[in-house]
Subunit: 498 residues, 2 copies
Amino acid sequence: MAKPKKTPRPKAETPRGFRDYFGAEVTQRAEMLAKIAGVYHRYGFDALESAAVEKVEALGKFLPDVDRPNEGVFAWQEDAESEKQGDWLALRYDLTAPLARVYAQHRNDLPTPYRRYAMGPVWRNEKPGPGRYRQFYQCDADTVGAGSVAADAEICAMLSDCLEEVGIARGDYVVRVNNRKVLNGVLEVAGLSGDDKEAERGIVLRAIDKLDRLGPDGVRALLGEGRKDDSGDFTDGAGLGDAQADVVMGFMQAKRGDGAATCARLRELVGDSAVGIEGVSELETIAELLAAGGYGPDRIEIDPSVVRGLGYYTGPVYEAELTFEIKDDKGRARNFGSVAGGGRYDDLVKRFTGQEVPATGVSIGVDRLLAALHAKGRMDTTSQGPVVVTVMDKARMADYQEMVAELRQAGIRAEVYLGNPKNFGNQLKYADKRGSPIAVIEGGEEHERGVIQIKDLILGAKMAEGATLEEWRDRPSQYEVARGDLVAKVREILELYS
Amino acid sequence: MAKPKKTPRPKAETPRGFRDYFGAEVTQRAEMLAKIAGVYHRYGFDALESAAVEKVEALGKFLPDVDRPNEGVFAWQEDAESEKQGDWLALRYDLTAPLARVYAQHRNDLPTPYRRYAMGPVWRNEKPGPGRYRQFYQCDADTVGAGSVAADAEICAMLSDCLEEVGIARGDYVVRVNNRKVLNGVLEVAGLSGDDKEAERGIVLRAIDKLDRLGPDGVRALLGEGRKDDSGDFTDGAGLGDAQADVVMGFMQAKRGDGAATCARLRELVGDSAVGIEGVSELETIAELLAAGGYGPDRIEIDPSVVRGLGYYTGPVYEAELTFEIKDDKGRARNFGSVAGGGRYDDLVKRFTGQEVPATGVSIGVDRLLAALHAKGRMDTTSQGPVVVTVMDKARMADYQEMVAELRQAGIRAEVYLGNPKNFGNQLKYADKRGSPIAVIEGGEEHERGVIQIKDLILGAKMAEGATLEEWRDRPSQYEVARGDLVAKVREILELYS
């Protein structure tokens, strides 16, 4: 038999824009997702897990009009079967497009309204950048088939509960609510309705979205002739006249002391616009429903400056912002910003069925939320390392295995050292790398006397850090106990640090 | 502006071989994964989550030697960048190949030995069939960098603990352990070693793997000239002579009453073969270590009939089988069979680094395990539907919202009806479809009197099922209580059924 040709060794590396997550990075995210799932469940939302792979045409936007429809998605063509061309498949780029497909496909079996939540990775075929990966988690909840803004109000309340459940204290966040209909009414008043004004409306929307970053003057420039940024680059403006721009600026800055006052101000701004008036009424209803549920402006507020980028929103839009400051890479204080957002979109299911189905939903950015909790020091970073049973005598592995089995059966995370036991120093180095709180040692001499040594590694680490407190200094860092007291002594030490 | 060309409506369907999972299908799997993760963690294993996407060459087997390297995997080529051809990327087909890549990439930062667990979907570009999907879950634990069979023994014990943790009772499963080295020794004795006998060895391995299905006579036929199956198709055999076949059959049937007796019998069979003797010693060590940990043959046994299909195993192999019978689709009793398996493989990391790194690990088939628990009736199937607050008066939505907020704050799963409230019958049908235990009703008349109606829907369902028991008959299915007693009464009813 001919020897197979030798292929060069592959490089061990993640593809560009992907990464690996280790240990606590994985478990902390899993715990956060479980907490959020608990809140979603309590609100009556049901879990849905669709496959990562969809047909390209089901995903929308990304139609196979070119040879390779991979604009923004990872896509490939199935093998042809006999005469039939293979389907183009793609990795989902969010959880909303699959929901629309699932609802259209299973609508006869699903309850209406259908409240569902979904969590999992999504993929974007985009240029990666610092902190910007091509696979990341989303965590969504949507209500399909409910036209009432009570559905929007419910999701805002649920979002507030989720943030508190994962450890964001009340006062450290605010959920802001606005309504696209009000904005449309304002644009109508400003003379920007009509199909021929779509480009201007787009510029206005994007300008409002930049209020945080550019301030009122910057936005005003973008509404008018345009704006030159610090680098000298010029961005074209919407070309509005002063009166028109005043209306838009007035809308953006319509926020008052409470929801009723804000709504009253918006009512002035939308004038006779039917859609605008409807939008203000919806905001009033949302505020009323939230107040009835106990969600006051300390948690959820009406804020006309929220527009949300996506074109497909048709009614209420909402966004959760963390209000505390964190230090950025250069040590400058800045607001943490948005961690979740969503709104009402009524056209997604229609693509499949022709029927308009109202829907509203939120997406929580779990990775940003985790980063926020870390920045606030709210993440438990105490060591989760295992107790390490060291191996002094390779021939007595069964004895060490027995110890570790006892510890595990008592619910204590523990392991026996499985590397080459010759060099005892390496075993302690290993325990250190694992973040182990305790090492258990039983040499031949101890074995004969029926005792074991229990080494407190946390104390050792604290001493090494130069702790000079009395409480540390007087405590022994190693104990000799009877073999039978293994579990009890280990538990006693672990409880000292819990 | 030119109107965009109208595209035909896309079909709402999952791609061939993929499916959607709803409600309890999702949450029960998540709960099972969390329980298994808990056991893995207690054994000192650390979580690892690598991306779904790998470079094709990192995945091994599937090298880009053809234009489209998609044999068995979903693969696509990245866009070219300037002069450079784009990489071929692929969805992972298991969790072991990514582990080898991760370990090779991060080995300087990882502890050695590295115990890691991983859980998540994997993808296979294969022809789908009944119950056979192109995306499914795996749930693995591996120890990399430990040559000692103590690592294999530990994983067998952990597998046993996992099965009991998720609800498989002791006695309903067995973990079987064997060693490829023993098999290699037996093949040596049978004159089947040497590079020129690779084809025969492959046939022998596959034949042994079919013992369950074909019985000893069928396997014997495959070891010899070959075998004609019921449909008349002929499978070529390994062409062994009688004496050779006797040795192999003797190996397969070497299991005795306990591990020591089985090992003694194996020692006879491997004769002077060095690798065979080493293999038997390893099995003896494994049995000894497991006994020290309290894992006797009621949970884990030495069984020479286990070979495991994959070519890459180099030492101990193990498999968990459920021993109870279930009824198949046609009502026939059959053994449930294997739900997990693994073994030692020492060559995977070498592909990247040139260095041989010993490794051993297990993969649990969570979907099969879930099916087993359902078949055994061990899955909690009580309704998790929400309490539904019905809407009698659309104008008083805020009142209903208040009720539902109270229930949720008390930790009770609840929702207000968000569909069109006009037809009250539809609201009760909705509650039925949701599996709701309770409906709350407050019409205008009740509102004036400060009371609400609480309808026990579980009792209603039981009555409808024709329950004639006294306990049901005498119990009211609807209660009128003061508005202030909402939470207390709902809780009281829910506790009746918990």
